[in-house]
């Protein structure tokens, strides 16, 4: 009860804890299914701790699809949670990979995350290893 009251008061007063360091974003990458594992490994190397992959179909018209080097329409949608600190590097390298890898064309975009609950979840998603080490001491 006490905690609930405190939280409600905070929400009413607009003093909810605001994150100023390493805000989280959801990175969505759509690539050909054959390259899904490759891109997942690649994104993971940027300190991403949680990823999901969904399998879907592309709908681009054939002429455009073949011009882009996508012969079949099977796609993978990779959803990753990434910190803003690593975002720029990840996107730049993804853009480079989209343009250079044969059959590795794709798109990527980010959606800002509005809120998250749970300190440990936040630390996990933002790969904040220092916080965990501090707690262990």
């Amino acid at each position: 009860m006490e905690i609930e009251k405190r939280i409600r008061n905070r929400i009413v007063r607009g003093t909810r804890a605001k994150v100023s360091m390493n805000r989280l974003k959801i990175l969505i990458t759509v690539v050909g299914r054959a390259k899904a594992d490759f891109y997942m490994d690649h994104i993971q190397s940027f300190g991403v701790n949680m990823q999901m992959v969904l399998f879907g179909q592309g709908t681009a018209p054939r002429e455009i699809a073949t011009a882009m080097g996508l012969a079949d329409s099977d796609r993978a949608v990779i959803i990753s949670v990434i910190g803003e600190n690593q975002l720029q590097a990840a996107l730049e390298s993804l853009a480079e990979k989209f343009n250079t890898i044969v059959g590795g064309k794709g798109i990527a975009y980010t959606i800002p995350m509005a809120s998250i609950i749970g300190k440990s979840i936040f630390n996990f998603l933002s790969d904040n290893r220092d916080a965990v080490r501090r707690n262990e001491k």
Partner: protein, 133 residues
């Protein structure tokens, strides 16, 4: 890569209606989308109370569009695949930043080329005028 020039539209429809969605979206200026298979859930009690059946098999169509045509696409989806139609679609959009990997649309490239040519011509005329003076 720039902030909030694009939006991603999610449209949840009954299975088999993703083509209707894509046709409507393309008419409104969208270029392509990705279809995901999904399963919907509904309130079982409410379903039996209202004597309606909710088809659990759904398709989610994910369309990345320029923010300028977002409203047009959403309107088209509402009319062609909205809740009143067989597709029983729900569509919403999320702002998106940092887009990477979109190839510029041919028309846009052409428009950019034409604009560049015009600018070059203007510059030439300006130089000529300056020389005359």
């Amino acid at each position: 890569m720039s902030g909030f020039n694009h939006e991603v539209i999610f449209c949840i429809v009954n299975t088999g209606f993703s083509e209707t969605v894509m046709e409507a979206a393309k008419d409104a200026g969208a270029r392509g989308g990705t279809i995901l298979n999904a399963r919907g859930t509904a309130n079982k009690e409410a379903e039996s109370f209202f004597h309606i059946a909710i088809q659990p098999e759904k398709e989610i169509v994910m369309i990345l569009v320029d923010a300028k045509i977002k409203d047009a696409v959403l309107h088209a989806l509402y009319q062609k695949a909205g809740l009143d139609t067989m597709g029983q679609g729900i569509a919403f959009s999320l702002p998106v930043d940092n887009v990477v990997g979109l190839t510029p649309w041919k028309a846009e490239i052409k428009a950019a080329e034409v604009a560049a040519e015009k600018a070059a011509e203007k510059a030439e005329v300006a130089v000529e005028n300056a020389e005359k003076k």
